[in-house]
Amino acid sequence: MTDPRFELVGAKPQAEAAPQKMRRHRPPYSTAVLLALIVLPCLLAEVVMTRDPAYMDLAHCLVAPCREFIFGTDSLGRDIFSMIWYGGRISLTVGFLATVIATALAMIIGSLSALAPRWLDALLMHITDILLSVPSLLLVLFLQAFFRQNSVFTLSIVLGITGWMGMSRVVRTEVLQLRGCEYMEAARLMGGSFFYLLRRHLAPNFIPSLMFMAVMQFRSAVMAEATLSFIGLGLPLEVVSWGSMLSLAQQALLTASWWVVVIPGAFLLVTLVCVTNIGNHLRKVHSHGERNL
């Protein structure tokens, strides 16, 4: 008498299951919301503003935050609340334009260097290194001389032209790395042309890191604009931006008008932190593996 449980039934092949999906990084929702809360009103500044940001109400200079002036007024009697949104738009525009220019330059020079013959690569990277060795603010000061009066546009160009160096080095290393990839090699063997490789293999794999670099570039451009305007070498006082608002801060210190110093700076800081968070997410930094220590 045989036990049915001991009947030979053999293998029951299961479909080869693919390993499960990697755990994705949670997108930084709260950061995105916070950033939207700053950026959207900036874009729609006209709707949000309560007063004309350029109007100097000399009767109300350095008014502390109150119901009428939510964020107070500066030493020229301008309403800081309105200026924040209006100036934010200008700061972000400068950052954006400068990033576009710098990214384009970095892409061109970095990939040229990676794909060019060795001597040209060495020369390009050497020049990049030399330009990198001068604090970029100094280069900006030189370049600004070309434009007598700074405008949003000229400042963006200057910041763009001085911002590509670090990025182009990274682009070069990335492109070199990708070029040596086995899947690129495989595609080349199958007869993929240069442009095919560029379009189908290089670009899709390159875009995430490019996005990260661009975001970081945006951060430094916004910061540079603020620094320059603060010192009085960026946007003039009449062109309201977060930086030019802060150029009044040093005088405000004497009267301990903290709101003139703190509020534009806080907006600047929060925006930059949000941007950095998003940049880090784009790069998908994950420490691989377990620590052995």
Partner: protein
């Protein structure tokens, strides 16, 4: 003798590293591969066997010697048609399959890529059906079509790589250590798969491996490379039965056997002599050649 599918004539290649250092990788290798034949290339790591594979694929240009596929010089195709022919009829699989698959492609796109590039019409109707057909050929379910390479295990990735290589219906497949990174049981799966597909499709194959165990079950002939030189070449059974070159003997004696009694008594032979540029070829039997050092007496 029929026209060889692949002929490698006296190929020399030296790696030029930065700082003016040069490392010789291949020192005069000659080899012929007939259509539908599987030739195994065996040797220790760094002996130049991967360099040979890459030279055959045209990824490196040898400093001396020439490599012809079907009479076409691999490094200097005469016209567009020859170039096309090379690109379609000669395919490669790599040691680390996962790295040879673009992480942004789906399995379907990966398998169809060579077809699209060679502008070959899919034989199974649509590209998707063609990809499903090849997946089934390598023993994977059609469910995998939409997967990405990160979602594949090592063995699965290697199967997809094989499917991609075969989708273009090549006449020559170069396999650069396709099983070295896999577990023993998976190695057997891949070797069986390659063998079955080779029987069905009839392509010639250059199979590169560092160990003899699997080569024996796959290859018709085996070439042994040592320090950048071909030292022995023979039909598989013959090589295993009567190896001649000292290195081949060492290689064979080093193969571990699943037999503790025998293993515990075994005295492996080692071979560590350098191989010179000279040497004389001896013929041990019609297809069995081996390289003897000057002064070494061949039978």
């Amino acid at each position: 003798m029929s026209e060889a599918l692949l002929s490698i004539r006296d190929v020399h290649y030296t790696h030029r590293l930065s700082g003016g250092v040069s490392v010789p990788a291949l020192r005069g290798v000659s080899l012929e591969l007939q259509p539908g034949e599987i030739v195994g290339i065996v040797g220790e790591s760094g002996c130049g066997k991967s360099t040979l594979a890459r030279a055959v694929m045209g990824l490196l240009a040898p400093q001396k010697g020439e490599i012809c596929y079907n009479g076409i010089n691999v490094h200097h195709p005469q016209n567009m048609a020859e170039k096309r022919c090379l690109q379609q009829q000669r395919q490669m699989i790599f040691q680390n399959a996962a790295l040879s698959l673009d992480p942004h492609f789906s399995v379907e796109e990966i398998i169809c890529e060579p077809l699209r590039l060679a502008q070959l019409a899919p034989q199974q109707g649509s590209y998707r059906e063609e990809a499903a057909y090849w997946l089934q050929q390598v023993g994977l379910d059609a469910l995998f079509l939409s997967r990405r390479p990160q979602q594949l295990s090592g063995g699965q990735a290697q199967r997809v790589a094989i499917a991609r290589a075969l989708a273009a219906r090549p006449r020559l497949l170069v396999a650069d250590e396709p099983i070295a990174a896999l577990d023993v049981s998976l190695q057997a799966q891949i070797v069986n798969l390659l063998r079955r597909l080779q029987r069905e499709q009839g392509f010639g194959m250059l199979f590169i491996a560092h160990d003899l165990a699997m080569v024996r079950h796959l290859c018709h002939r085996v070439a042994v490379i040592y320090q950048g030189r071909l030292v022995e070449i023979a039909p598989t059974a013959e090589l295993f039965r009567a190896p001649r070159h000292g290195y081949t003997k060492a290689l064979l004696s080093a193969m571990p056997l699943p037999d503790p009694r025998q293993e515990k008594q075994r005295q492996p032979q080692y071979y560590e002599q350098p191989v010179s540029d000279g040497g004389v070829w001896h013929q041990a039997s019609p297809q069995h050649y081996w390289l003897a050092e000057d002064g070494e007496v061949g039978e």
